[in-house]
């Protein structure tokens, strides 16, 4: 396509619930990109989990034809962005595919944390911003206040803000006009050697992998031989086209275009998101920046609740991995919980999304072990290993040095939360902590922190100490020497393998105490006293006891009570058969759930 100057590539940046999906839908509808009948509410967020939680995980892209007031027809490429820190790589890649962004602000709620966090990401990529004040139809809308906050908190020109209501459609035309007028057309040379950024991929059961890309330079055509610069794999292009409601085949994708490429790629694992497509015959000298392999950094063992569900879990993971290149899994087993898989995730949200999809789409009930990171362990005999499973952690006497992954964390917050956030970061072993004032009232805190400290309920705590105003992003930095211990949880003296965990020695005691207390709350009283202990090696660091119960007999048992009572006892006995017996103590599955959920349930 030659009308590059009539193309606009943009995304929408917004806080959860500020109406991103509604605005996207409205833009799509207004441009007539979609037949009314086929129109689904909130089309962009197609996954159930995304809809329910109001977040976008997988990015989608739409090409919208728009006839502007100048009478010209424009091609608007709306690139959806995921809205969570675990997927910040994906956000970055989406942003890299745009020239501009709509920054959505709720007229009644004003600027919020996430808006700011994403704004900074967007500014990093030099995007042109259009502030949009949405939900002006609400009785509680306060446009003037929203303008002030755009000025004060975001440092953007408040008078350039477009007013609209995505719900009623009011002002949507103005938004489209602003996109055309104020966002720059893409630059790039269609004759130069091909450089196209893969920012997303989908799996199609019939066609294989469908790569979504932004062509920076050069042209992509059917039949062309392409080279993926990072993986160094070559393919022949079978089809290129635009992403409308359905894929619409085109002859070519030229510099500035956003579209899809099908090239006989069998699995999403064969490609990497962020890779650069170039021509095999005339390759570009360098790949585009922004490539980072989607490497799992958080690990957890996933067990089916019912032993008969193991086969189903295997199949479900296989299917899920077809569309999720970042998910890794291998067989694992636990004495307490049976067979399962050790899985690797991009972060905690990724873990949760996978868990929810397994439970919802594949109807499985699962137990997940405490999430952990990957430790590099140098042994005294000179060998080196990566350990992300507590069961495989070597004996301390054999260990020379252990290294743990560190991140560079950035936290944005209003000034008034500096104190508690500093405290939280210090508690989580943050070092080299720096503060920077973004505006008079907004602060950016940067710190180098162990990744392990962030995957353990950090996001929750941050939200709580900043009353929701703190936002957070991180990237992996390096590995640093550390003191890791393996904490075992013992029930009447016997370790429960599924509850063992690796953690820094400074947090071992409180962590162990928490597990002990949770277990004490959930293991039903039995006829004897139960000791629950946390231990490092042979050393006990935490303990609680569950006192024996001394009365359970029902007060009345006459003619009409006997059958019901017997059935109740049978049921209890059946329940006991499913309990895991550790140290002669029957531990119900609910106890594992309660303990492990307190780690993972990080919403």
């Amino acid at each position: 396509m030659t009308h590059r100057h009539k193309t606009r590539n943009f995304c929408i940046i917004a806080h959860i619930d500020h109406g991103k999906s509604t605005l996207a839908d409205r833009l799509i509808q207004t441009c007539g990109g979609i037949d009314e009948r086929e129109f689904r509410d909130q089309l962009l967020d197609s996954m159930d989990i995304e809809r329910e939680r109001g977040i976008t995980i997988k990015s989608n892209t739409f090409t919208l034809p728009y006839t502007a007031s100048d009478g010209e027809e424009y091609t608007l490429n709306l690139i959806d962005t995921p809205g969570h820190v675990d997927f910040s790589h994906e956000v970055r890649r989406s942003l890299m595919s745009c020239e501009g962004a709509l920054l959505l602000v709720d007229a009644s709620q004003g600027v919020e944390a996430q808006t700011v966090a994403n704004l900074y990401l967007a500014l990093e990529y030099d995007l042109e911003m259009i502030p949009v004040i949405n939900k002006i139809d609400l009785p509680s809308a306060d446009v003037e206040r929203a303008r002030e906050e755009i000025d004060d908190d975001l440092g953007l020109d408040p008078f350039g803000a477009v007013l609209c209501s995505a719900k009623t459609g009011e002002g949507v035309q103005d938004v489209l006009e602003a996109i055309v007028e104020r966002l720059p057309a893409p630059t790039g040379d269609s004759e130069a050697p091909l450089q196209a950024l893969i920012f997303d991929a989908q799996y199609d059961a019939y066609r294989g992998v469908v790569m979504l890309c932004r062509v920076k330079d050069g042209t992509l055509r059917k039949g062309q031989e392409i080279l993926l610069m990072h993986t160094q794999k070559t393919y022949e292009v079978e089809e290129v086209g635009l992403l409308k409601l359905e894929r619409e085949e085109q002859d070519e994708l030229a510099a500035g275009d956003v579209g899809y490429v099908i090239a006989g790629v069998k699995s999403v694992r064969d490609i990497t998101i962020g890779d650069t497509i170039t021509g095999k015959k005339r390759p570009a000298p360098d790949p585009l920046p922004g490539y980072r392999p989607a490497k799992p950094v958080v690990f957890s063992s996933v067990y089916p609740m019912g032993t008969d569900e193991y086969e189903d879990l295997t199949k479900a993971l296989e299917k899920l991995a077809l569309n999720d290149a970042a998910l890794t899994y291998e067989k694992d087993s636990s004495a307490a919980l049976g067979f399962g898989f050790r899985c690797g995730f991009l972060g905690l949200l990724h873990l949760e999304v996978v868990q929810e999809r397994l439970e919802r789409e594949y109807d499985l009930s699962l137990l997940l072990s405490a999430p952990t990171v990957s430790y590099r362990v140098q042994l005294k005999d000179g060998e080196e290993m990566h350990v992300e499973n507590p069961a495989l952690y070597p004996d301390p006497s054999e260990i020379e040095t252990t290294f743990e992954p560190f991140i560079s964390a950035a936290i944005w917050m209003p000034e008034r939360y500096i104190g508690p956030v500093m405290e939280l970061v210090r508690e989580r072993r943050g070092v080299d902590t720096n503060l920077r004032y973004l505006t008079q009232s907004r602060v950016e805190l940067t710190s180098k922190m162990p990744l392990a400290e962030v995957i353990f309920d950090f996001y929750d705590r941050l939200k709580s100490v900043t009353q929701g105003y703190g936002s957070f992003d991180y990237e992996l930095l390096d590995e640093r020497e550390t003191h890791i211990v393996k904490v075992d949880i013992l029930v009447n003296g016997e370790p429960v393998d599924a509850l063992s965990q690796l953690c820094h020695d400074s947090v071992a005691r409180p962590r162990a105490m928490r597990y002990c207390e949770k277990l004490a709350e959930t293991i039903p009283r039995q006829q004897f006293k139960i000791a629950i202990q946390g231990a490092i090696g042979g050393k006990i660091i935490a303990r609680t006891t569950i006192n024996a119960f001394r009365k359970d007999v029902t007060a009345k048992c006459y003619g009409g009570d006997i059958t019901r009572k017997r059935k109740l006892l049978e049921k209890q006995r059946e329940g006991k058969r499913r309990m895991k017996v550790v140290g002669a103590v029957e531990i119900p599955q609910s106890a594992f759930v309660a303990v492990l959920k307190s780690d993972v349930g990080n919403k």
Binding site: R550, G560, I562
Partner: protein
């Protein structure tokens, strides 16, 4: 009472459920309802129908009704109502029923049977006497509320009950403390309860029993407080005490309050302490402790009827929600009536069976029940009788669990008898489940 204490009564029992109450107590989980005189008359009519239907007169229709019953119930029911022979003349059948197979107890429970008009009650009992093989020494048990014993009406009732042959009068006192009575939703005061007990004792029933509830959410926790209340209860002079721990059932008002967190049940350690204290106190007073919640001044005052439930002696239940149990040729069956009074009535009025469901008890069911019930009583479980009835030799298949129970001080073995200790009785449910966990049961 002719059955000497100590020689267990093996004859079947008869239970009649009278669902009516003047108000529904917030803790009560039984099939109860509030109904006026017309509802009660309709109920009594339905009960007659049930007796006629199940028991059968000589009419072919009744026979057919019996044959239309679920097959598993037919034989055991026939055995219960007309053992050995069953001729066209039920009167003949009745007279031909040997003494040891006739109903020796009739329990009128509820609900509040004392609410029934005395003539209605007498009519029902008379109907039962005509239709069913009742023993000559039949003992009649009646549950009564204290307020029904008050005033001139109360005096007339007491006379009528005595005349009817009521030997065991069970009074729903529940507490002697006015605050507690209000909390429990009772309609009498402590003083009225005392007066009722006094009147009952004066009326010269063979056994007067008093029901009390303990372990209320904010009942004084200290044992001395409960001790004083127990002393008061003992001082009432009744022959029998049923001391029940308050249980919160889901479908009750208390259940709802508990779910909303507005009622917090007494914690388990306190309930356990109160339970032990109750038993020790009654033993100290020289009483016969014969079940988890039941105490008699002497063994002769035990509830002969209730003991049948704990020993798998056959019983026939009539009225809404009533359960029956019988065994023939090694097949044990339990069945039960519709719980809802209107539904039970409608079924009977439309010539249908009021039975809601039945179950054939497998040997494994019987073993669990025998333990669950037997361990509620200091008399424990006769393991040789269990072996004969079910073919399960617990001494062999559950040896490790039995050993554990004895070493934990929950039970001891005396020959073929498994006897729970007080601690064992307190955890009878868990103990029964544990002892029957073994393979081969």
């Amino acid at each position: 009472m002719s059955a000497a204490a100590g020689t267990p009564d093996e004859r079947p029992g008869l239970y009649v459920h009278v669902p009516f109450c003047s108000a529904i107590c917030p803790y009560c989980d039984f099939a109860v309802r509030v109904g006026g005189e017309p509802a009660r008359r309709r109920y009594a009519e339905a009960l007659r129908l049930e007796i006629d239907r199940l028991i059968g007169t000589s009419s072919p229709a009744a026979d057919e009704a019996l044959d239309n019953l679920r097959t598993e119930i037919r034989a055991p029911l026939r055995r219960l109502i007309a053992p050995r022979t069953r001729g066209p003349e039920t009167a003949a059948a009745r007279s031909s029923t040997p003494d040891d197979a006739r109903f020796s107890t009739l329990y009128l429970g509820g609900g509040t049977p004392s609410i029934l008009d005395v003539d209605t009650l007498a009519g029902l009992v008379e109907h039962l006497r005509i239709r069913l093989p009742l023993a000559d020494d039949l003992e009649i048990f009646l549950e009564a509320n204290p307020e029904d014993l008050a005033g001139a009406d109360g005096a007339r009732r007491l006379d009528a009950w005595r005349a009817l042959g009521v030997g065991f009068l069970s009074l729903g006192v529940q507490s002697l403390d006015d605050d507690e009575l209000r909390f429990l939703g009772r309609r009498h005061t402590g003083a009225e309860a005392r007066a009722a007990v006094e009147r009952a004792l004066e009326a010269d029933f063979a056994t007067v029993s008093v029901d009390l509830i303990y372990g209320l959410p904010d009942q004084p926790a200290t044992e001395t407080d409960w001790s004083r209340r127990l002393d008061d209860a003992l001082a009432l002079g009744s022959h029998h005490l049923s001391l029940y721990e308050l249980e919160i059932h889901e479908r009750t008002v208390f259940g709802k309050l508990a779910r909303r967190g507005e009622l917090i049940p007494a914690p388990e350690p306190r309930r356990a302490a109160l339970f032990r204290h109750t038993h020790r106190r009654l033993l100290d007073a020289g009483w016969d402790v014969y079940e988890v919640s039941n105490f008699a001044r002497t063994p002769a005052h035990r509830s002969r009827h209730n003991q049948k439930y704990w020993r798998h002696i056959p019983y026939l239940g009539l009225g809404p929600s009533a359960h029956s149990y019988a065994a023939t040729d090694g097949v044990a069956v339990r069945w039960w009536n519709e719980r809802s009074t209107p539904r039970w009535q409608r079924l009977l009025e439309s010539d249908a069976s009021p039975i809601q469901d039945a179950e054939v008890l497998t040997p494994a069911d019987l073993v669990l029940e025998t333990l669950m019930l037997g361990l509620r009583t200091p008399a424990g479980v006769d393991l040789s009788r269990l072996r004969v009835r079910t073919g399960v030799d617990l001494l062999r298949v559950a040896a490790p669990a039995l050993e554990q129970a004895t070493s934990d001080g929950l039970a001891r073995l005396d020959g073929d008898h498994l006897l729970p200790t007080l601690d064992g009785m307190a955890v009878a449910d868990a103990l029964a489940a544990e002892l029957t966990e073994a393979e081969g049961i």
